[in-house]
Amino acid sequence: MTALDEGLLQWAVDKALEAGASYAEARYQRDVTSGVILRNARTVGVGSEVREGIGVRVIINGSLGFAATNTLTREGVERAIMAAITRARATASLRKTPIEFSDERVGRASYEVAVKRPLGDLTAETLTELGKKLTETINSSVKEVKVPAVMFQAGTRLQEKLVINSDGAAIHSVVPRVTAFINFVLAHPQKGTLQRTIEKEASGGAELIDSWRLEEVVSEEVRNLEKVFLKGVEPPKESIDVVVGSEVVGLLVHESAGHPMEADRMLGREAAQAGESFVKPDMIGKYRIGTKYATVIEDPTIPGSNGYYLFDDEGVPARPRYLYKEGIIYEPLHNRHTAKLMGTSSNAAARAMDYASEPIIRMSNTYLKPGDMSFEELIEDIKLGVFIKSYMEWNIDDMRWNQRYVGLEAYMIRNGELAEPVRNPVLEITTKGFYSNIVGVDKHLRFYPGTCGKGEPPQGVPVWFGGPDVRLAKIRLGVIA
């Protein structure tokens, strides 16, 4: 059951059609978040947010208009519809190519993520206790260094959507999520500081917090990072084999396979914001970007995932998509607009962050396909190499080609085994440089959460990215200047 009368959305769609729209869509969305923030085990903030409203989208004389309101009455919604229509019409003289959507078999469905324990169990009191415990764990895990700052943030998010459009879609969904964020700074009088952020987020109920075993994870990370901080050496200057840990691989495939395979970027719709793509439409199905190990999958339907959905915000049923398949650029992410332009069908990538955001092409859960080796087998014949397990700094250019990841927890590999820690190794590499140098992947598929930013105004949507540990041949690492 939604908190909103479905009839208001259907009325909005009908009203927009009456006013001349050739397509109309009304989406009710309610995002409720709550959480706590602690600093050094003391409460700094406790709060909540409710974003609730209706976003309407229309195509009028070939122009696309979007308007959002949180006045949930016929009067308020009508004002939004008329703003969408009249302001889109006001730019019609500049229009060269009418905007059209692909024909799709849209759905009529209602689904809800089942929880084992309700989100309400994660009260401010409970989360504060957890934050205190974790801070204590961090402080008791260090031996020689000081911990001047620990930030802990945790909370719940409940997202409800109801999408109705003039093509017959009616999709209702309820997706709860739980989130935790820990940042700490280690300090040493001679060595300076080291900083690490650990994030967890997934769809599900209060049970997720326990499943993350945060005390164990944090304790292990702090102990390892203290060693890296105090004893880390510079990485070798010569070309070596580099094993990129799944945390880095996950981010890397999000940035260098997910984003460049968004069809709206390929066609230029985000050109002035998030940028375009090195992938051009004529490369699809033909261009070799990497070795046979370069298979990157995008799948919104993974149960429990952070980017979970079964129908997108245009009413199209979701399914896994192979962005890169065995080294070949394979299938872009489409909404109904780019699908029409490229003569194909939508693969359900349209998502909106909140009621006030237009649905645009987004990733959900993106990962590199794992293999069948163990980690030990992956590194057993490396005489000299580096394993980069985690990172802090990263970025990539606006064509999704030139990228950089600065390792945090990292180790030398000597004669097939992990050896002394390495400090701040820099992997600066092109997209083709990465995928075409993969010589092995292990079997450990791990996912990491993120908030992916795109659009104007910027929209942050929850995603997962992941992969196995990946071995690259003949890579020259850099160091921080």
Binding site: S48, N70, L94, K96, M392, N402
Partner: protein
Amino acid sequence: MVTALELAESVLKRLEGRFDDVAVLVRQRDYVMVKLWNTEPSVTQSWIDAKVSVLVSRNGRVFSTELSVSDPDAVDNALRNVGEILTKLEPSEIYAPLPEPAEFKPLEGLVDQNVLKAMEEPGKYVEEMIDAALKEGAERVAGTLVFGRMTKALATNKGFRGMEEGTEVEAYLRAFKGEFSGHWAHGSRVLDINALREVGRRAGMYATITNSKADFTPGKYDVILSPLVIGNLIDTIGWMASAMAVMMGFSMFMKVKPGDKVGSEAVTIIDAPRDTELAESTAFDDEGVPTKDKPIIKDGVLVNILHNTGTAKKMGTESTGNAGWLFPTPWNLHVAPGNVKSEEELISELRNGIIITNNWYTRLQNYVEGIFSTVSRDAALLVKNGEIVGHLGRIRIADRFANLLSNWELATKETHKIRWWEVETPTKAPYALIRQVNLTKPPI
């Protein structure tokens, strides 16, 4: 329709007897945004909505909430359990009672009627921007034009009442010619057609400034950074000047204190809430403290960390009028100009080096050390003997903020009003010449 202040007062009335502190902040907006791709609109978006933010406290226990509603009863309803929640919390480390109201001097000229008219006919202004870029020889453009009106009202149980209405224009364009591109941006409270044309002209100019490509070898270079790049980097530095960023370990200012030297004498960065040309200008902050312009860094010396009353109490100082209830932030930023008469003269001063006209994706390995990198986009130009000789493609600044501020040498006299996707805080910035900046690019 009730005004924003009436709505704030109505919510306050329902809550004030139940808590020690109550602040109600209402924001109502009517905005329109035309987004362009391939020299035509991709979508025209509008927002007509309201947001009510409420801060309550009892015995030092604090709860804040933000609700996208316009109905006081709905706010009351959403807060019905807060009293009980507060009893289970511990006092906030940064609690301070809301301040007694001080008289604030309202800002004049925040509303431009021309912006309100333009909201219903954005097409013709978009056309002016496009035409200016095409005249420079650009083949296609993408970008954004925003017109909007925002009303902000604050009511507190200490008796503060304030309401402000302001308009905004944000415009940016990216122009393409073949594989090269240029970008420019503008942000203001007023509609200035010449400024919009200048967005198109400069974007087109950088896209077409040379047809040549130049080779690049990673290393340290003398660089000129455009106001867009300065704006992006200063955005991060301004954010790190927040007392909460300092307390949380997210700031390069954690290891220094006001009075310490953090840059060359040429560096002055000012938080400028009373600059009515920029879109975040405001006479009072979210706690009702009157705003004032103040340096963050003056002549290379750290002068002010930005505070609300809570962080100020914790650090034994006074609020700087930068609340944010939890996180103080800068309003508008000024980067002080230098003495160089023109961009051409600055290029002559550079003699040999690189001009970076735009960037994005600034990320930090370590906030406390200020270790960061950022990637160039659009024109990154090699200069030899004072002449631009070619595009370098996409390169990366990978350095420390401390180095950039210390090696900052010269800046142009003229500053530019910048706001766009990668410069969130409205900023006035010059072109600046910075020596020995570390630049990188992937080997494969």
